[in-house]
Symmetry: C2
Subunit: 312 residues, 2 copies
């Protein structure tokens, strides 16, 4: 019998749900608002109810459902345990057991950044490779590592936390994680804006950025593409740190390809080409010339990867 | 039937051979000089002949031999292929196939640093953990990563090449790999001596190191233990870079334990304690307080790990 599975991506504002066939085709998708009662298990109950409703609506037979994959914003151990998901008001518990008992289906859970990496590996920018590192450049910098087709979770679920790799020992501002000089402080959307403001402050150079009331990472890349010198310096700096961090990652896991996703990746080739330059300059010969791809699934990477958790 | 297996560690000067039972007990070990004819396959033929001789001598039945594991100094792909082992005069070929046809036994090959890590994980300093990173501080800095009990080889066999992680963007001297500022330039035995000479040159501070005609990494650690201030500064600097590199590694793979081996690790607790301080200062909270162990198998790590390749 042709099987289907659900992929659920639990975010701080919305829960996304996708229905897939085993070939990775997205058959249908939905979303609903994340209930912020402070009682995190409500979110899982909502998701379970939602799925049961869809199963009835679509008249799906239980034996046609391979299972439910769930991505959540925090570290998840291999057995489905989470220590804590403060964003969702969740303490220590086992997501897989909870969701299994709510739905009666096979359940597999993972960290959202890892799950997004799995999605991009399966049907997105990393398709065709078995060893892929995804970097998600959004409000923060997330990472996910796929080795031989499986997510690397790490001993405490914290593998792939590449946004907090130290890249600048001289940084004086503090990162969200409490350290100073993390990659996230330079290569996230927020980090790029911070860098741009710093460059504008420290220099008297003319720049089209000075005419923009609210600078965004997009405006920095747009101005750089239009030849604005100061914006290009900001792009070079962000990509310099990104290239160094990716060189560190390669010295550890030697992937075939890097995939860059998140809002910042909409900048396109200027991003991958500039990063590649600094990557190659800082990695040993045997690791040069990896593939640098852009993510292609956008906000759907999470539901794709969650579904793949079940089909792996 | 109780089985045994051979572990072979091919080095530049000697080939070590160990005979193990499946519980990891070393039953016997031997070594012979590496034949430097420039024709690398001679080395494998020597090793095969040596093993066949021992099999006859010990009257081992073929069905009692689980196989032969081989560690070689260079990147080895998952299928046993090596691109090139310049130290041994070997070009592109498949070690496993070659050795299998020479011995008629099951063969598995791996990179020597990875194989040493597997040995320490199995029966040495990493025993009891499933996710272990070994750093070997010798003439160079080697690394091996064990995830869920298996060696991480990487897509081109270059995973765990942590000696060439960039740790100092300001370095002016060139590393053996052609880059500048690699961990190996500070934390290998050679690197520590280099650092010490630099400190002695750049400062007029009194130091017992000044009375030592030929400074070694051991003398630097010995003087530091005796309270020599300049030696302590050198140790702090080497451990600072080591701690930062290990923080990078943890942000990528989140191991349970680090094991430090190689000649430099004979310094003991002063090394692990100083490294731990800088590691914890540069890693995110979820990754703090990993185990820091010293390797215990010494030069036998390679034969242990090679044997484990067969038993994995």
């Amino acid at each position: 019998m042709e099987q289907v599975c659900f992929g659920i991506d639990v975010g701080g504002t919305a829960v996304k749900v996708g229905l897939f066939n085993t070939e990775g085709e997205l058959l249908n998708k939905w979303d609903f608002a994340t209930k912020r009662t402070g009682e995190g298990k409500d979110i899982l109950r909502d998701a379970a109810d939602f799925i049961k409703e869809k199963i009835t609506e679509l008249n799906l037979k239980k034996e046609a459902i391979a299972g439910v994959g769930v991505g959540v914003p925090g570290p998840v151990m291999d057995n489905g345990e989470v220590q804590e998901l403060p964003n969702l008001g969740l303490g220590h518990f086992n997501i897989e057991e909870e969701m299994r008992s709510l739905t009666g289906l096979k359940v597999k859970a993972g960290n959202d950044a890892n799950v997004a990496a799995l999605g991009e590996y399966w049907m997105g920018g990393g398709k065709g490779y078995r060893n892929v590192v995804l970097l998600t450049l959004g409000t923060g910098v997330g990472g996910g590592i796929i080795l031989n087709g499986s997510v690397l979770a790490g001993s405490k679920g914290a593998a792939g936390e590449v946004g907090h790799i130290l890249v600048n020992e001289k940084e004086e501002n503090t990162c969200g994680c409490g350290k100073k000089g993390c990659l996230e402080q330079y290569a996230s959307a927020t980090g790029i804006v911070r860098l741009a403001k710093r460059y504008l402050n420290d220099s008297s150079k003319a720049s089209s950025l000075r005419n923009i009331p609210e600078i965004s990472a997009k405006s920095v890349f747009d101005c750089a593409k239009n030849g604005d010198e100061l914006s290009m310096e900001v792009v070079e700096k962000a990509c310099y740190y990104l290239g160094i961090a990716m060189a560190h990652i390669a010295q550890v896991v030697d992937p075939e390809a890097f995939v860059i996703g998140g809002g910042v990746s909409k900048a396109g080739e200027i991003l991958t080409e500039t990063v590649k330059k600094y990557y190659n300059a800082n990695v040993m010969d045997a690791l040069k010339n990896k593939e640098f791809r852009l993510a292609t699934l956008g906000n759907d990477a999470g539901i794709y990867g969650a579904a793949k958790l079940i089909l792996a």
